[in-house]
């Protein structure tokens, strides 16, 4: 395996751009930086850096998983890609159009073509609306005629397997299970016939037995309609099932990106390795062994560290280098990029 692995030293910006497939990307995020203002006490404010120079592309019909722990910036990046958050620096391009600084009132077309599915199907659906009204609402905003609205609502319900559609259309969300509610959330996104959907932890609040159905449904939508997905998750195992490529985020940066198989079978960043080691798969031998863990927890606030964001927890860190010099993404095999000064050692050790 390692024979084909080759380290290059091209600048991060160029190599990140090279991850796209031959066709033009649908979404292109370049050098994104996001800083949140927070209150610190009554009069003072502080800054929390959420994203630090992140670049990512999503091709047409591609699913990219953003994997990371809370505070890694994965949800923020998803919202930047929808221009729900304007970045402090960097460029957001949707289907060739630069939307970085476009005024909100000019983004009506984007609000139709790009959708989001939220994590919590219990709080993201208005309990006083029937399912029909929930799904119809965006079409009213779009000015779609009544008869066409009805057909599209039923088609969307059928697309998410809530059949017979008229029966589910008349229900209220509280009458449905978590899995069914999440289907309503997906139907609401689908009804505008989007090109791009951000799915932000769409299965983390659903019972285990319903998760696969929802992921399979998203997969079907992707293949049948050619929709591009940004799948935001903390569960790297589900990313393997659902995504073409995986980007691993830590503290506001992408530390590793590649095909799902590359990242899971040949993880090269110490954080990716730790993330994979930490996952308990059902195996009765697990209880007889201690897991190799990285110590500590990600820092929760303040400015970005000067060097590698993972320095404070990294088992392989090189003091004097990693804490001073921020490692850039390097291509170690075609399409597989890692931001780590140790990457050549790790490639060698496989």
């Amino acid at each position: 395996m390692t024979d084909s692995v080759r380290a290059t030293h091209a600048p991060a910006q160029e190599t990140a751009a090279a991850t796209a497939t031959a066709t033009a990307p649908l979404i292109s995020l370049e050098g994104i930086e996001v800083v949140y203002q927070i209150r610190k006490g009554f009069f003072r404010t502080g800054q929390v850096h959420a994203l630090n120079d992140v670049s990512l592309e999503v091709a047409k019909g591609e699913t990219v998983a953003l994997v990371g722990e809370s505070g890694s910036g994965k949800s923020t990046l998803g919202r930047v890609s929808l221009r729900l958050i304007a970045p402090a620096r960097g460029r957001v391009v949707f289907d060739g159009q630069d939307i970085t600084a476009a005024p909100e009132e000019s983004l009506g077309w984007l609000r139709r073509r790009a959708q989001i599915v939220f994590q919590d199907p219990f709080s993201s659906l208005n309990p006083y609306f029937r399912v029909y009204d929930l799904i119809e609402e965006p079409l009213i905003i779009d000015g779609v005629p009544a008869e066409e609205r009805r057909q599209r609502v039923y088609r969307a319900l059928e697309a998410v397997d809530l059949v017979p559609a008229p029966r589910f259309a008349s229900k209220y969300p509280t009458m449905m299970s978590g899995g069914q509610r999440q289907r309503v959330g997906i139907a609401r996104a689908l009804v505008r016939d989007p090109d791009y959907i951000v799915a932000d932890e769409p299965v983390s609040m659903i019972d285990a037995s319903s998760r696969v159905e929802i992921l399979n449904l998203l997969r079907t939508i992707q293949t049948e309609r050619g929709v591009s997905f940004l799948y935001i998750t903390h569960d790297i195992a589900s990313a393997r099932t659902f995504a073409d490529r995986i980007a691993v985020m830590y503290l506001g940066t992408i530390v590793e990106i590649g095909s799902a198989a590359q990242v899971i079978d040949r993880p090269l960043h110490p954080y990716t390795r730790a993330l994979i080691n930490a996952i308990p798969e059902p195996d009765p031998r697990n209880r007889f062994r201690h897991r190799e863990v990285v110590p500590g927890e990600p820092p929760t606030s303040g400015a970005f560290p000067r060097g590698c964001p993972f320095f404070s927890r990294c088992p392989d860190r090189i003091p004097g280098l990693c804490d001073i010099d921020r490692p850039m993404l390097q291509e170690v095999e075609p399409g597989h990029f890692v931001a780590c000064h140790r990457v050549t050692d790790n490639v060698a050790s496989g």
């Binding site: 722990e69 037995s209 195992a237 393997r240 994979i276 798969e281 201690h290 897991r291 863990v293 990600p298």
Partner: protein, 361 residues
């Protein structure tokens, strides 16, 4: 193996040949806990049995929301809400039926002293204006038996035991990270030196890398001081990280119960089997399989086997006859007619023989 702290010979069962064997540490048999809610009876725990043989063993209760796993914990701690309409069965702690104790006796002798619990989300309800050390020490101060000096050293000992330095005693909760708070909550549950610790989703609010740290700590506590655990989780993979026995809860029942090896590798209940097959795996050779149907309504569970409407293997008796816990022969049981040769005939163990779930590399 850790040394028993109490004289367990005092509470032992007399065998027919006159020999005595120590009673199991905890034996739960045919436990029921029903509530009434909106005029309807919720059968949250409906005939549940399991055993913790000895100190340092852990049993996992795995189930989806509404399967009755937290209600089981509530029953064991006897923290019953007012709307309970049925609470029976036996809960034997080293042979003594603690379910039969009066509330006063239970509070004085059992709750927190012998069976303690870490509640789901407990790390988020630490008192924000009390120092960590004072929060851990509170039960000891109320107890009044230890001197101030002794309490302080006990708090320090507990902090070290859960992987924190004694300096944490003087900190406030907001100064701690999520993983550190969860360690504090564990120290609080251990303060009266319980034999059995119930853990309800103790890592669900934590990131996976921190979860792994906490699971390592729980493994240590099983070994030394030999705490027995009841580990409640929706994640069967996480249960395999700690538990010697696993019960798979479904609609108030334990659909399947037995040694971790059997339940994970050769599940005898279709629900356990399908649950394992539905998990996305890191290195799977086959894609995860969706589970058909929706979980049942506990106020109106299906007749016969509660899983039968979702079960691809159902046959004649399943929609009418309630399957009892059918013994497997390894101390475990499965509530599925396929395990009874008298009922299943040619179907006996059909569909259940091939190992499901774990692929050994």
């Amino acid at each position: 193996m850790p040394v028993a702290k109490r004289d367990s010979a005092a509470r032992s069962v007399l065998y027919s040949d006159g020999m005595t064997a120590p009673a199991p540490l905890l034996a739960v048999e045919d436990l029921h806990l029903h509530y009434v809610s909106g005029g309807r009876v919720v059968r949250a725990v409906d005939g549940v049995s399991f055993t913790i043989e000895r100190r340092g063993e852990a049993v996992g209760i795995v189930g989806e929301s509404g399967s009755g796993k937290t209600s089981l914990a509530v029953a064991l701690m006897r923290l019953l809400p007012k709307n309970v309409v049925r609470f029976d069965g036996s809960i034997r702690l080293e042979g003594q039926d603690i379910r039969a104790l009066s509330e006063d006796e239970f509070r004085r002798e059992i709750r927190w002293r012998r069976i303690a619990m870490v509640f789901q989300g407990a790390m988020n309800v630490l008192n924000p204006v009390l120092k960590i050390g004072d929060q851990i020490a509170e039960p000891l101060q109320l107890d009044g038996r230890l001197s101030k000096q002794a309490i302080r050293s006990r708090v320090n000992e507990l902090l070290v035991r859960v992987g924190l330095s004694p300096e944490f005693a003087t900190r406030y909760p907001h100064e701690l990270s999520g993983g550190q708070k969860q360690r504090v909550v564990l120290a609080m549950a251990l303060v009266l030196d319980p034999d059995v610790l119930i853990l309800d989703e103790p890592t669900s609010a934590l990131d996976v890398s921190v979860q792994a740290q906490i699971m390592n700590l729980l493994k240590d506590l099983k070994q030394d001081p030999g705490i027995s655990m009841i580990f409640i989780t929706h994640d069967i993979g996480l249960a395999s990280d700690l538990c010697d026995h696993i019960a798979v809860a479904y609609a108030g029942w334990h659909a399947e119960y037995g040694p971790a090896e059997r339940v994970l590798l050769e599940p005898r209940h279709p629900y356990a089997r399908l649950l394992l097959a539905s998990l996305p795996r890191l290195r799977a050779t086959t894609p995860p399989q969706p589970m058909p149907g929706e979980p049942p309504d506990l106020t109106n569970p299906p007749a016969g086997c509660r899983f039968h409407p979702r079960c691809p293997y159902r046959f004649a008796p399943c929609d009418t006859d309630v399957p009892p816990p059918i013994p497997i022969g390894d101390g475990g049981h499965a509530r599925c007619w396929l395990n009874d040769p008298g009922v299943a005939g040619d179907l006996y163990l059909a569909h259940l023989k091939e190992p499901a779930g774990v692929s050994h590399d």
